[in-house]
């Protein structure tokens, strides 16, 4: 096939932030956005499988799961939901400030996001602690204090709590990873690294990830905490 070389190459007015494999910033930004969304699709499939298991078992054991879920503290769950929703707002603000190249705006918004994430983890810690204390963690000692089961069949309640700890645990892990990544981003902004100051995309990508983490919780919260009586 005939191919004619064109004279683009490097060295005529390209950004510091342009990576060598890309021809221009538009291609680079597009690629990163598409890449991040593709990654988020994999995360949807990842959590999706767990939601599928949840759906199956809840439809099989509706009453027992309803009873078991009463062991959860809805107030703490609500606090966590609002905290995460608010943190999604602040991270969106951070992306906006990044587009406007306003360093202190970015840093303050990201800091609030981190505080929210930290609050989420702290509330989670107390929730888990309460469950361990009530012997609601699956295993040999499960249900040794039956009053905390609220009348649910212990076997099926174990399935519920197995999924509860599995899904909220995985979600919590994603929150932690998010906190680490946001911390890294903040460090880059603090040091005026051109990677973030000249290019808002890294901040946008982190924002996308954080929105996804929030979205998973938006699904988890009603499914786990807000079950209607069957």
């Amino acid at each position: 096939m005939a191919a004619i070389a064109s004279d683009h190459g490097h060295g005529h007015g390209h950004d510091e932030a342009l990576h060598h494999q890309f021809e221009n910033m538009e291609q680079q930004n597009d690629s990163y956005i598409v890449g991040m969304w593709t990654f988020l699709v994999t995360e949807v499939m990842f959590f999706g499988a767990l939601f599928l298991i949840y759906t199956l078992y809840r439809s099989m054991y509706q009453m027992d799961w309803y009873l078991a879920h009463e062991a959860l503290n809805v107030q703490m769950g609500m606090v966590n939901t609002f905290v995460l929703l608010f943190s999604s707002f602040t991270v969106a603000m951070a992306v906006r400030y990044a587009q406007l190249q306003k360093k202190w705006g970015v840093l303050s918004m990201l800091a609030i996001t981190q505080v929210c994430a930290g609050a989420f983890m702290v509330v989670k810690y107390f929730e888990y602690q309460e469950k361990f204390g009530h012997h609601l963690y699956p295993g040999p000692g499960f249900g040794s204090h039956p009053e905390y089961l609220h009348g649910a069949t212990p076997n099926f309640a174990q399935l519920y709590f197995g999924l509860y700890f599995g899904m909220t645990g995985l979600h919590g892990l994603h929150v932690l990873v998010g906190m680490i990544v946001i911390g890294y981003l903040m460090a880059k902004w603090w040091r005026n690294s051109p990677m973030v100051t000249k290019d808002y995309i890294p901040t946008e990508l982190v924002g996308l990830y954080w929105h996804f983490v929030d979205l998973v919780w938006i699904f988890l919260f009603p499914l786990m905490y807000l079950m209607p009586k069957p």
């Binding site: 070389a5 064109s6 021809e23 890449g35 593709t38 990842f46 499988a49 599995g166 995985l170």
Partner: protein, 578 residues
């Protein structure tokens, strides 16, 4: 060739590179290899590690075949035998088949074929290789620590509650290797969408690129599901979180649904790139554009999509309902059609071509035969009535080895030989390679054809002993004899390909006279792939068999092989003239 508008800024690409520096010799330090972002170097890293794992998996295969020659085994206890077949499956599926063509040939070729300088995310690409190595190390650690005996399918409750072996360690390795696969898939998708050179429209893409793109889609959608499913087993074993436990009211068959939701598309991850290689080989060695280009491109996407709707055909007798079985069977028959179309299209490509029977073509022709048999025997298994008898027997083992080894491995070898000059700058010895390709075909059929028969007779798979049924023995003996031929035919290329790195003749930019952007740059290519990014004006596989035939006649008169590099060619013709 199309008319080129006069433009002082445009210069033609030269056939020989301006400089001798290529991606291999640019920097010899270990650090430059281990911290590379260059997709070509990453492909070579994968080549070395994947070959190593293939070798380990083959040893396990040899042990299996050796043991099965006698109804009561020779040297292994049952527990050890169970660990050996599990190792064979795990290594071959997760560390070889899922990875080989996409990560080696795909990584090397995708940017070159679309005219890009590198993948969209080079550092992610390197991470992919490290994740593969860490996952592989975890798996091998589990093997060395005593192995697992759950089979590569890890059915619960055996693997979650009953197995005493290193399930957690091996599952962790598979989980990590899964992320290696996911990052490769992300790279393929974004690169194909965003990094094509000017003029490289979707329908000018080589079919290899279509195949890699479809593979990326399958990887993205399927791998996370199996990752979390295997994670659930780890949850049960390590954290006591019951998910599939029947005693507590859980559903062990749910594991099977989730596992096969990935593992069926996984086989398309293994075969779609092989189809891509196959299209490239047939087009370039028949010197003709592939028949039905559009249909082959769309059939790759159709297979990727439909492949997600057939997982239940692994579960017809697992207690899934009759209606589920009927639906899955119907869709399974439908998904067979695009593959059949491809086979017919490749055959039709040969019509009025100008066929060169060099080594890659021998592999490609072998692929057509073996994949046809393998694919058609899949119909026996998609057909409900016959599957009830044939499932869980050696018929299944024979079927998937025909498509995986007769299909994917044959295509891998064909592609490796075809692109070897491009990747290494060296030519392999053609005549020994050609005869070895025939040996692969023969050894393969001798090994696996008897397994169809013994499976139909009722021998279950994963059986160490069969002394209840000594009538199975003759077929096992035949199969083991065949496997020694097959083993030889895999060892020989390992030897001559390695030798060619130092002793092989140097290759020109385009030793095959093939079409494709990868052949427009030197062999091996420079680190940045192209001196200047090409602008694509021509259609893909732009061969003209009639003109070529005339050129061949002329070349025949001189008796100079055209695959030698230009320097060697001129030296040869000098010799002839004298």
């Amino acid at each position: 060739m199309s008319a080129i508008p006069a433009d002082p800024n445009v210069t033609a690409v030269s056939a020989t590179p301006r400089t001798e520096t290529n991606y291999l010799n640019a920097d010899w330090s270990i650090k430059s290899w281990l911290l590379t972002g260059d997709h070509k170097r990453i492909a070579i890293l994968y080549l070395v590690s994947v070959s190593f794992f293939f070798f380990l998996g083959s040893i396990a295969a040899g042990l299996i075949r050796y043991e099965l020659t006698a109804p009561a085994g020779f040297i292994l206890e049952s527990e050890t035998y169970n660990k050996v077949f599990s190792a064979h499956g795990i290594i071959m599926v997760f560390l070889f088949l899922i990875v080989a063509i996409p990560a080696i040939l795909g990584n090397f070729l995708l940017p070159l074929m679309i005219g890009a300088r590198d993948m969209a995310f080079p550092r992610l690409n390197l991470l992919s290789w490290y994740l593969f190595m860490i996952g592989g190390a975890c798996i091998m650690g589990g093997m060395i620590n005593g192995g697992v005996d759950s089979g590569w399918t890890f059915y619960v409750p055996y693997s979650s509650m009953y197995a005493n072996s290193n399930v957690t360690m091996v599952l962790t390795g598979i989980f990590i290797a899964g992320f290696s696969s996911i990052t490769t898939g992300i790279n393929f998708i974004v690169t194909t969408h965003k990094m094509r050179a000017p003029g490289m429209t979707w329908f000018r893409l080589p079919l290899m690129v279509w195949a890699l793109y479809a593979t990326g889609v399958v990887i993205i959608l399927g791998t996370p599901v199996v990752a979390v499913t295997l994670l659930c087993i780890i949850f049960e074993r390590v954290f006591h979180l019951p998910i599939f436990s029947a005693e507590l009211g859980g559903d062990p068959v749910l594991f099977q649904h989730l596992f096969w939701f990935y593992s069926h598309p996984a086989v398309y991850i293994m075969i779609l790139p092989a189809f891509g290689v196959q299209s490239e080989l047939i087009a370039n060695f028949a010197r003709k554009r592939v028949f039905g280009y559009h249909l082959i491109a769309f059939s790759s996407l159709a297979i990727a999509g439909l492949g997600f709707l057939v997982w239940g055909h692994h579960m017809f007798i697992s207690s899934e309902s009759m209606y589920q079985g009927v639906v899955f069977s119907l869709i399974s028959f439908l998904v067979a059609i695009p593959s059949a179309i491809k086979v017919f299209n490749w055959t039709a490509t040969l019509y009025k071509g100008n066929i060169r029977l060099q080594t890659p073509m021998i592999y490609a022709l072998g692929f057509i035969g073996l994949f046809t048999i393998g694919g058609l025997t899949g119909l026996f298994l998609g057909c409900l009535g016959t599957d009830v008898h044939l499932t869980n027997t050696y018929f299944i083992v024979a079927h998937f080895h025909y498509v995986m080894v007769g299909g994917a491995v044959t295509a891998f070898l064909g592609g490796l030989h075809y692109w070897w000059p491009k990747m290494t700058g060296r030519l392999y010895p053609e005549s020994i390679a050609k005869w070895n390709a025939v040996l692969v075909f023969i050894g393969f059929n001798l090994t696996f054809f008897p397994q169809f028969i013994v499976g139909f007779m009722g021998m279950p798979r994963r059986y160490h002993y069969y002394y209840f049924a000594p009538e199975f023995q003759p077929y096992h003996i035949m199969s083991t004899l065949g496997s020694s031929v097959l083993a030889l035919s895999f060892i020989i290329p390992g030897l001559y390909l390695t030798r060619s790195l130092s002793k092989g003749a140097k290759a020109s930019a385009n030793p095959w006279g093939a079409h494709g952007l990868e052949w427009e740059t030197s062999s091996p290519p420079p680190t940045s792939n192209f001196d200047q990014i090409p602008v694509v004006l021509d259609e893909v596989y732009d061969f003209d068999p009639v003109t070529e035939h005339e050129q061949d006649k002329a070349a025949q008169a001189l008796e100079v092989p055209s695959y030698l590099s230009n320097e060697a060619k001129s030296a040869e013709s000098e010799k002839e003239k004298r």
